[in-house]
């Protein structure tokens, strides 16, 4: 910073060429900075990728999938749901038709959660073969489509006696 000069008025657009000896240095610093940043970013992405897998894919991956963040999508197996309302402890199995994975989660399931519904759980597959989920989403279809009567229509939301006028 040799050419500090406070008295030069900056209103005059005289072109002052940069000290040539500083230029390679600046470029070098920039390259190092961008490189380091890029490396950090790439490493960050690799580390924090969440794979979206089906139960079959998860089982097939075996050890490679253990203890890594995964989004597991499939259907809730009928009859597999164990819900302890007092302990807020939920266990159920998810299937894609071929393989089943046991899922454990704490916290209340969403209102629409039930057997045979599509779910996406996010969490990690433990060594014990239980998928520890920290987030459970019922897979909602974004299509605007009223449920067909064959799907049972809507179940009663709430007992009639509780309905306010």
């Amino acid at each position: 910073m040799s050419d500090v000069n406070d008295t030069v008025p900056d209103a005059t657009p005289t072109r002052v060429s940069r000290n040539p000896s500083r230029k390679p240095l600046a470029i070098g610093a920039l390259v190092v900075l961008v490189g380091a940043f890029g490396y950090l970013m790439y490493g960050g992405v690799e580390e924090n990728l969440v794979y979206f897998l089906t139960p079959s894919e998860l089982v097939a991956k075996g050890d490679k999938a253990v203890d890594r963040p995964v989004r597991l999508g499939g259907q809730v197996v009928a009859g597999s749901v164990q819900w302890n309302a007092d302990a807020l402890d939920l266990r159920f199995k998810v299937t894609d038709g071929a393989k089943e994975v046991l899922v454990h989660s704490t916290g209340a399931p969403p209102q629409m959660f039930r057997a045979a519904i599509g779910v996406v759980v996010e969490g990690k597959y433990g060594r014990s073969g239980v998928f520890e989920s920290h987030s459970l989403m019922v897979k909602h279809s974004n299509e605007y489509r009223p449920p067909a009567p064959s799907e049972g229509g809507h179940p009663a939301r709430l007992d009639k006696t509780l309905i306010r006028s």
């Binding site: 008025p9 900056d10 990728l49 969440v50 794979y51 969403p110 299509e143 605007y144 709430l158 509780l162």
Partner: protein, 695 residues
């Protein structure tokens, strides 16, 4: 009839846009001013036509004209009127129509306010604006045509996406977002206009561009905050930011626009960074189009991703075209974009601006990478992945903390170079405040280094920015014998741009404090309760479920829980979190209930219940300081308003206080004194005594 009116308006506007482009180019190349004037007329006519088109669509929505494709897609006779009107932007075609209307409006305003300006800048910018209009009009008659005929006509429609008709903020967030997003087209058009007219070396275009960027940026800032608020009030997980692609789409151009608003000062003041600034403008515009592509093409699934066909290809083609045109134009203007100045010292304001730009563009890269990575991975490796919030947090929190620090350093440092003595004087007090906050935070049990750093730098930056007001106000009080409010008002009036900027800083700091506190001290508890049962939450706070109830509304069924908030067993408030069942969607849409205080929110969401009303599962979330985020957004907007408000140049003399001048003000015309005290040194007697003469 309505349908024909709307469709015809868009078609005529499309033809007019082509006509306008042709005559403008002919007028400019053959030097025929009448042609250019005719091109200006087309911009006004297009605005009228698009107003007609959008009016026709609103009429069709309100009258439930289900013969029109868009109405059949989003309309329903049971939807309340307000949500029927705002479903205009509730799906793809309507949102593109709205976009086209905003763009036509902006174009008309740009032409009208600059129609007497000499030179080729405005006509060439008009060509650019009409070209962007042309692209959106093509979408409106092609892949996003909202007017297609439905046959047979149904008696009723499905109504808007439940998520989008569940909260009043849906009437606020999207228009703000479009005003901001589409507003970024104007700086881009000015840049293209300046490059085409070879006026890129002039200060004129950068001043125009700066003002337009600032207003678009303000709308975008408010839109982002409103979007966060919507997400907080509707989605039910108690958060406001999830690094969702849609949020990122609105955030990326905000980052580059923020970078531009800072680096443009270096250009105005020192004649540097010209090429960089043009690139920032282009990048900002491209990021708005990229964001629209991401959210509207359906390649990313989210609330905003409406099912579509081929529209993505149009956007990709348009982005490619814009990149090529920009590159060619920039390459052809390399002489006009050369830097006139150079860095004098590392301890100067321009250095801080450059570092700030480095961080902001780095931030943008992180967000772009994280947002696009899943697409790239799926396209090339065939794996379905998401880049989780941990990536974004890990990468961006250090950047945010650094930016907070810079927000204090930048305003304090003078242009060119600061002396050692100045540095000591400037930073001793703020550093002491930061240190005190660190000690306090550690004593209170905080351990997360980034959280502590965020609070400390927030205190640092806040004291730096406040000091700028304090020093200037006190100088005026001494010099003119003014009272505190008068001195402060005149200080701000004297250089609105500068002091508005500081106010915006204070707003951002407020947001940062809100975000840091609410994420660091978030507390969450969930339990299944029977009516009358109490659930302890934290400390002396508990909640009691009173009862469950249901309600039938025309468009939905509502199930609610009346919950009392207790402090030491005494009721201090009631909340009624709800669950809304819409006919068209299986999953209910929650309406969490929030009790908001400056010190923090009690946020209750109804998670599940039994139909007999005998139990309900509640999630109670305590989030300190959340309202600070919304409030901070307002401060940012106020600061931007102070900055952007049209100011006569003679108002600069308010800044004058009798201190030795540091040198002439920059060549940019608008004075931007180096330190708060070095304005244009006019004799004191010339300083007007009334702050109202600034218009």
């Amino acid at each position: 009839m309505t349908r024909m009116l709307g469709l015809a308006s868009v078609w005529i506007a499309l033809v007019m846009a082509i006509y306008g482009i042709v005559v403008a180019v002919m007028g400019l190349t053959r030097n025929k001013p009448a042609y250019v004037a005719s091109a200006f007329q087309t911009v006004y006519v297009n605005f009228a036509l698009m107003t007609l088109a959008i009016g026709a669509m609103i009429y069709a929505l309100v009258t439930h004209d289900f013969s029109i494709g868009y109405v059949a897609q989003v309309g329903s006779r049971t939807t309340p009127l307000l949500y029927t009107v705002i479903s205009l932007w509730g799906a793809l075609e309507g949102s593109i129509l709205f976009w086209g209307w905003v763009l036509a409006m902006y174009s008309a305003v740009v032409v009208w306010t600059n129609r007497h300006r000499v030179g080729g800048l405005v006509p060439w910018s008009t060509v650019a604006l009409l070209s962007i209009c042309f692209f959106f009009f093509v979408l409106l008659v092609g892949p996003a045509n909202p007017w297609h005929l439905v046959s047979p006509v149904l008696a009723d429609g499905p109504g808007p996406n439940p998520l989008l008709q569940n909260h009043i903020l849906m009437a606020v967030h999207p228009p703000l977002l479009y005003l901001g997003y589409v507003g970024m087209s104007v700086p881009f058009a000015f840049a293209v206009g300046a490059l085409l007219s070879k006026e890129i070396h002039s200060d004129d275009w950068i001043r125009l561009t700066r003002r337009w960027t600032l207003s678009a940026w303000t709308f975008l800032s408010l839109a982002i905050i409103a979007g966060m608020w919507w997400s907080y009030e509707v989605l039910g997980w108690g958060g406001y930011w999830a690094w969702d692609p849609v949020e990122n789409a609105s955030f990326m151009p905000w980052l580059t626009a923020t970078a531009f608003l800072h680096s443009v000062m270096v250009q105005e003041r020192r004649g540097m960074l010209k090429l960089w600034n043009v690139n920032l403008i282009v990048a900002t515009f491209l990021l708005t189009i990229l964001g629209t592509f991401l959210t509207r093409s359906g390649i990313i699934s989210s609330v905003h991703a409406f099912t579509t066909g081929t529209i993505g290809y149009y956007f990709l083609g348009f982005i490619a075209l814009c990149i090529v045109v920009s590159l060619v134009l920039v390459a052809g203007n390399s002489e006009g974009l050369r830097s006139e100045g150079h860095l004098d010292s590392a301890a100067s304001r321009e250095t801080v601006f450059m570092v700030n730009n480095l961080f902001l563009t780095g931030f943008t890269f992180v967000v772009v990478l994280g947002t696009l990575f899943p697409l790239v991975a799926e396209a090339f490796k065939g794996v379905k992945v998401t880049v989780g919030a941990p990536f974004f947090n890990k990468m961006t929190i250090p950047i945010c903390v650094s930016l907070l620090f810079l927000m204090g350093v930048g305003p304090s440092l003078p242009w060119k170079a600061a002396s050692r003595e100045q540095l000591r004087r400037l930073f001793v007090l703020p550093s002491a405040i930061a240190l005190a906050i660190v000690v306090l935070a550690v004593m209170r049990g905080m351990r997360d280094p980034y959280g502590i750093a965020a609070f400390a730098f927030a205190g640092f930056a806040l004291s730096c920015n406040l000091r700028e007001y304090a020093v200037g106000t006190m100088a005026r009080m001494r010099a003119h014998g003014e009272a505190v409010p008068v001195a402060l008002a005149r200080l701000i009036a004297g250089n609105r741009r500068r002091h508005g900027g500081y106010l915006a800083h204070i707003g951002i700091i407020t947001v940062a404090v809100g975000v840091t506190a609410s994420s660091s001290f978030r507390f969450e508890r969930e339990a299944t309760l029977k009516p009358g049962q109490v659930m302890p939450v934290k400390g002396d706070l508990s909640v009691r479920l009173k009862q469950l109830w249901g309600k039938q509304e025309p468009q939905r069924e509502v199930v609610g829980a009346d919950v009392e908030i207790l402090r030491n067993g005494a009721v201090i408030g009631t909340l009624d979190p709800r669950m809304n069942f819409y006919r068209t969607q299986e999953t209910p849409v929650p309406t969490p209930a929030v009790r908001s205080r400056p010190s923090g929110d009690v946020y209750i969401n109804l998670m599940a219940y039994t139909p007999d009303g005998q139990s309900a599962t509640l999630r109670v979330i305590l989030e300190p300081f959340v309202p600070w985020i919304w409030f901070g957004g307002l401060i940012v907007a106020m600061g931007a308003l102070v900055s952007a408000w049209p100011t006569a140049r003679r108002a600069e003399r308010f800044a004058s206080v009798p201190l030795p001048p540091r040198g002439p003000v920059g060549s940019a015309g608008v004075a931007f004194p180096g330190t708060g005290l070095s304005g244009a040194a006019l004799p004191m007697s010339q300083a007007p005594s009334s702050p109202t003469s600034t218009s």
